[in-house]
Symmetry: C2
């Protein structure tokens, strides 16, 4: 059966109205509300065809029609008009971005919050798992007692810290020197390369380079030169630090996920059933699920996932609009807008597209890439 222009118009009308009212749309409503120049009876015939094609669904006999997943898909792929952001929206987004320009984490959280407000949906942001890609800086900072604080800064300016316990107390000066050594060696390394073999190799290389670096690093500080057993001591510290770094990597849970606008979900009548609402809230609280949801193909464009296209049962009645904060070929994280299948796709796509456009320029400015 051929999808005539008229059928498309009718499908569009159904989706438009359904997005607004959440009620099944009947032929008479369309005849009245849209000036298609045909009677309700004709529309009825066309609707019958659209249903046969699987684009709309009748929830029960003699009810109006509701778009099917396939119908939404057709709409999103071919029918949906590109919506421009309103000046208000642009101004609002720019304000949020400008206010959080120096902190990527906060930037992502706050933009997600802004998107939730603009779209009236829930939003989720996740840091990309590959976020800790290169070591920019390592610091060992004295803590009280037999421990120090390991600081790890990545090239995206993400900061991770961990307490490392050692056998003996270390003086600040000692740690300072060790910091310098580790810093120059680990700099620009890819964290995921730091497997055990390489850790050993580094430890060895540190030992070798010690003699050549000794004279340049704080030669006159106390407690360093005259400590005979210091060699293996430092080795132990270095190994402990490297282990901690490795541990940070292994902690894949380390990917932070932030959620905003959950309350919006409860405004949609499709979630006025508490069980539905609970399923949704539960899904939004499960980190792993959200990471799966936001993952997948991250080609940097805005994607729409409709209904059961995402393979998460709890979210089969939801659609997701997602995109990744991408600069060059680096993935900083992902953002997703989650709402009922009836959500305003056009607005969601344009808001997400708009925010990425602005944010990309901001991230580029920060990282100078």
């Amino acid at each position: 059966m051929v999808l005539s222009e008229r059928k498309i118009r009718i499908l569009e009308a159904i989706i438009n109205d359904y997005v607004q009212t959440a009620e099944p749309i009947g032929s008479r409503t369309i005849a009245k509300r849209y000036d298609l120049g045909i009677s309700s009876a004709t529309i009825r015939n066309e609707m019958s065809d659209l249903e046969e094609m699987g684009l709309i669904i009748q929830p029960y006999s003699s009810s109006g029609r509701v778009p099917s997943d396939k119908g939404y898909r057709l709409y999103v792929d071919s029918l949906m008009r590109q919506r421009e952001l309103t000046p208000d929206e642009v101004a609002y987004l720019r304000k949020i971005i400008a206010a959080n320009i120096n902190q990527v984490d906060l930037l992502m959280q706050e933009t997600a919050r802004a998107v939730a407000i603009l779209t009236n949906c829930a939003t989720v942001v996740s840091e990309a798992p590959e976020r800790l890609s290169r070591i920019k800086h390592v610091s060992l900072i004295p803590a009280d007692g037999k421990s120090f604080l390991l600081l790890l800064v990545t090239d995206t300016n993400a900061v991770k810290n961990q307490i490392v316990f050692v056998d003996e107390a270390l003086a600040e000066a000692e740690l300072s020197v060790l910091s310098g050594m580790m810093n120059s060696i680990l700099k620009n390394m890819t964290l995921s390369d730091l497997n055990e073999d390489i850790a050993k190799a580094i430890s060895a290389s540190v030992n070798n380079s010690r003699s050549t670096r000794d004279n340049s690093a704080a030669p006159s500080k106390s407690g360093f030169g005259h400590n005979g057993g210091s060699l293996s001591r430092y080795d132990r510290v270095i190994i402990a630090a490297l282990n901690s770094i490795a541990q940070i990597i292994r902690q894949e849970d380390d990917v932070q996920v932030y959620t905003s606008g959950m309350r919006n979900i409860l405004n949609f009548p499709e979630f006025s059933d508490v069980n539905k609402a609970r399923a949704m809230i539960q899904a939004l609280e499960e980190k792993d699920m959200l990471i799966t949801l936001l993952g997948g193909d991250n080609s940097g464009i805005v994607q729409v996932v409709i209904g059961s296209e995402n393979h998460i049962e709890l979210l089969e009645d939801c659609s997701v609009i997602k995109a990744s904060y991408q600069v060059g070929n680096r993935n900083f994280g992902s953002i997703g807008v989650i709402g009922p299948k009836r959500m305003n796709y056009s607005q969601g796509v344009s808001v997400l597209g708009g925010i990425l456009k602005h944010i990309n320029s901001v991230i580029e400015a920060i990282c100078g890439e």
Copy 2:
């Protein structure tokens, strides 16, 4: 009217049953379920008295009774039995704490999650606003272009970072020296003392101390000694850095708040009305509100706030059990269990008390205080 032993027993029975069933409790139910040795008619008379005293309420004429806020208060303050944690609960909590021993942030988040699971309520943790109390370490780390990363470590090992933009590019060695200078001066300072006047004083003191420190700090590093215009350049960097630190303080929003177990809320029949549920979710998403909620008297003991005792309208039907992660007289943050007024206070108090006991020892171990 005197609150006889028998009245207390009846009140207790009502609260017990109501906590379990969420249904108003009638005299006949109590007579049957509790062996008080009196008939339902007598219980009815006593209940009438209890209502007169404001301890219980009749939702509508001829319905059973429900505890009032005052009734809960009496129960919590005087009647409630101290419940010991079960071995399972202790083991579970210990596991969570042990797994997150090195990161205070994560520790708080994960224990909150654990508490949510154990109590079937929502939980909230907030870092204490006074968390950034003393500077332990400041680092200026090179970033790309005309910017550097300001790293701030506090004595609780919290790490804050911010990009600072400056006029000219700075070499790593220069920043390293500046780091050292700032480090020794700012060390142990209270951030809240860092108002503008003091910032200026510090800047001056840095300028003064430059000449006396020159010989001890990396004397042979390149690009430092022979740079004639360096004085005011560094001053500008220092001022920028101090401004950034001040900015971090001003950002009171910087207090992170994490929420867990929202889904549990929807299991309570009192929230099966979507409007109630929405109010709750909304409250749980509003950072400021949660901070207010967890704030107040933080004397380190477990506190119970019943119904409208918290002055947040959205949460007037909820109770909160809260406590702060306190070590010595330092406040690391707060944790709160939020549920319906009908929540299991006894369990909540014991779980929170238990977790604080274990966590306190852990935090003490980390900070050596």
